[in-house]
Amino acid sequence: MLTAWHVLTYLGAALFLIGGAVRIIRVARMPLHLRWELYPVPHEKGKAHYGGSVLEETDWWLTKREVDHWGELVVMLEEILLLKGVWEHNRSLWYASFPLHFGLYLLIGNIALLIVGGIFELSGVQLGVGSMGQVFSFLLLVVSGVGIAGGVMGLFGALFMLYKRLFVRQLRMYANAGTYLNAIFLGAIFLSALVVFGTDANAPQRLATIYAGLISAGNLPHLTLAMQWHLGICLAFAAYLPLTHMSHLFTKYFMYHDIRWEDTPNTPGGKLEDRIAAQVNQKVSWAAPHIQGGGTKTWVDVATSTGAEDDK
């Protein structure tokens, strides 16, 4: 039987995914921008360690372009998992930011584990029975540990962050109502996770059953009060996140891969030519005297004039 929790969960997940998809599609559909890369670019094979690029080479356009995807991946992972940039440039904030982010990753990881748990349950695997049952038991043990660790780390991070946002001058100056709400929201997620996993030894098992019910749109067991709170807050947060700057969760990839490291040269006959040709034929409406686009001139018109024709 479908309950309000089913509906709320599907809604929360859908809003999260739609919100994220909208962000991603919006970025992906943006026009090709001018090159604006920033070195070091980690996919520069053999040169990334000192920030070099193929542009150092004689007749670089004749050399085969080698892109080191592995190099990109390593930098991306260090950045996402360890917040390396913050560690290097803003150490005191890292002590708050890292546990906050890592706590969140652990809880997200836990959701994935619980989905697996739900599938075990739906496939009739019984806890501790047979080898699959052993795996299932172990999985729930991990869920419990990860839940507690995530809760502790995250709560510490969220509170520390809130403290910093309130009492460190330059952070307070740039904070606004949303900044505080975000920290409190995150704090509430971690606190409720901690209560769920820290006070109820049966929580992982019960949660696996809940996930089985949610995945299959089947019956749900009773949700403890703590679980209701936890789930409710998480769902509200999932729907809210895409509306905020925290949507960098979805767009960070683009900000690194599509902008900071985007160095594809425009080679004759290459894949960029058509896009560029289309873009420079768009109409410009910039109004300054040296442009006077008026929505009728194209970029080509602008570039091939001097802007001072009127003076003649």
Partner: protein, 540 residues
């Protein structure tokens, strides 16, 4: 009006509240330089803006003026300006008008976490004694709030709750206009942002809005810069006749000085290389193009200069403030290269020419003649064995200034170093260097701006970090004596202009014997074919 102590905004919204000055830097609050430049009393001061200037222009941001926009005479004019600003702001976020930077700009607008990780990486902010107005995120945050309030779709209440509000009045806008010219666009801050937000880009876009929609920009960049370049041929004001005369004179002088016949080639069709210098070199540092001619001839390179309008000046100030002007200038450069049927363009010792022509123009024009850095060409020549070089001729302390546009923006880091390690036995790095270098403080056109008292701002604030780095790089020598000559190699005209001004301002040549110049001069100085040293310290 003379302020007695530092003033720094206390909140973002302070920018909208009218006051004499939003910020003031008291010199005693600036981080000290290493000795013997540590006593502020003994250094030149910071001239106050004249009363007339404050009366006439919108000068309520800080201690200086760059844009120098006259105060609106009537409320109607003020309203027209405000309207113009918001119409430009909207256009910045349309793909037709700003396909060039729409994606990076939107991403930077919407994702800042306000963590301030970028702040300590900004040489302007840190060396201003951390005045809030110069923090990389201050102008970005004002811009962001205006964006969320006026451009971004969504409910006003949610946007202001999430992003904070701001009053987009003329006080805000006129201060933002000046503030767009207190950042050198060096993008060091963007390197440290964990999210990928680029505050340098935000400044760049702000400048574009003012220029492309409202026709407001510093005259050094626009009237005397790109407009003059497109009309007369060069931002120096030299037309094709003047440039040829000038180069003839340089050739003669080189021949006299070195005993080697130097003859610059003009408009050679089918040459391998079209070399484009920053034309400022011909006037301010003629030994640089002279040394290039000498080196290229000695190495037997097939090369030419162009005497076509614009094509003999690699300057492209459009890069700093206006996409239309950028495209116009780059178009002329590329056109001439095609006409001459050269194999490649080599970009001379000019950082922003490198970036404008080397990477930015890449996506404005299809099928262009390829561009290569002079750093690469110099490395190729030095290691080709075609020149006979004696490094002991360069046996004095040499350090390298990395132009941001060549390193951070293009990843051209090692060629110039390999050359220096080879020909300058006492080469030492500045710290930090390479892609993590600090801007000279003259970036984004500042080096050519000295209106009102702006030069004082460049010397005391934006150039302070570079001055500190230079002194530290020569820290193993006696900085109280000018006996040992020290050389800052700055392979960029713009940076050289700023470094020249810094050394003059702080008296570092006479006090510590610190000189500056390009890279090619050191190569020629090491050539065994020259009986006399090429570098003439007395003339530098």
């Amino acid at each position: 009006m003379s302020k007695t102590s530092t003033i720094s905004p206390k909140s973002i919204k302070d920018i909208s509240k009218s006051s004499d000055q939003l910020a003031h830097v008291d010199l005693k609050d600036l981080p000290p330089l290493p000795p013997p430049y540590d006593d502020m009393e003994k250094l030149p001061g910071f001239k106050a803006l004249s009363e007339e200037a404050r009366e006439k222009f919108d000068a309520s941001l800080d201690d200086t003026l760059v844009v120098s926009h006259p105060k609106p005479a009537t409320p109607e004019e003020e309203e027209r300006l405000v309207k113009g600003f918001f119409s430009g702001l909207e256009k910045l976020f349309t793909k037709e008008n700003n396909w060039t930077f729409l994606e990076p700009l939107t991403m930077s607008m919407e994702h800042c976490a306000k963590c301030q990780t970028c702040a300590t990486d900004c040489p302007v902010f840190t060396m201003s004694g951390e005045n809030e107005v110069y923090r990389p995120t201050y102008r970005a945050e004002v811009m962001r709030r205006l964006y969320f309030k006026h451009v971004k779709k969504g409910t006003k209440v949610f946007n202001s709750f999430q992003n904070g509000g701001i009053d987009g009045n003329w006080t805000t806008i006129s201060r933002l206009m000046e503030l767009a010219y207190r950042c050198t666009l060096c993008r060091r801050c963007a390197q440290s942002c964990p999210i990928g937000v680029d505050n340098g880009l935000i400044t760049h876009e702000l400048r574009k809005l003012f220029s492309m929609e409202m026709g407001i920009s510093p005259k050094e960049l626009h009237e005397k810069g790109t407009v003059q370049q497109l009309k007369v041929g060069s931002s120096t004001g030299m037309n094709p006749v003047a440039i040829k005369d000038n180069v003839d004179f340089i050739d003669e002088d080189m021949t006299d000085r070195t005993g080697i016949k130097v003859e610059t080639k003009w408009d050679v069709e089918g040459a391998d290389i079209l070399l484009i210098h920053n034309a400022g070199e011909f006037l301010a540092w003629p030994e640089n193009p002279g040394a290039f001619a000498l080196m290229l001839e000695a190495a037997g390179v097939s090369w030419t200069l162009s005497s076509d309008l614009v094509a003999y000046d690699g300057v492209n100030y459009g890069l700093f403030y206006d996409d239309a002007q950028l495209a116009r200038v780059a178009a002329r450069h590329l056109e001439v290269a095609k006409k001459l049927k050269v194999k490649k363009i080599v970009m001379g010792e000019c950082g922003h020419e490198h970036k404008a022509l080397g990477v930015i123009a890449d996506r404005v024009f299809n099928n262009s003649i390829p561009r290569e850095s002079a750093m690469t060409l110099m490395e190729e020549i030095v290691f080709s064995g075609k020149l006979s070089l004696d490094p002991s001729k360069n046996d004095f302390p040499v350090t390298l200034h990395d132009p941001c546009n060549i390193t951070r923006a293009m990843g051209i880091v090692e060629p110039q170093r390999r050359v220096l390690r080879h020909i300058a036995p006492q080469f030492r790095e500045m710290e930090p260097h390479g892609t993590r270098n600090y801007c000279c403080g003259g970036g984004s056109g500042f080096a050519i701006m000295s209106g009102h008292n702006f030069a004082d701002w460049r010397m005391h604030i934006s150039g302070r970090m570079k001055m500190k780095q230079i002194l530290e790089a020569f820290g193993d020598t006696d900085l109280y004596s000018d006996e040992v000559k020290k050389y800052i190699c700055a392979p960029c005209s713009n940076c050289k202009g700023q470094i020249r001004d810094l050394l003059d301002f702080y008296g570092a040549k006479t006090t510590s014997g610190i000189y500056y110049g390009g890279l090619v001069e050191l190569i020629v100085n090491a050539m065994t074919d020259l009986s006399e040293p090429f570098l003439d310290w007395d003339m530098m």
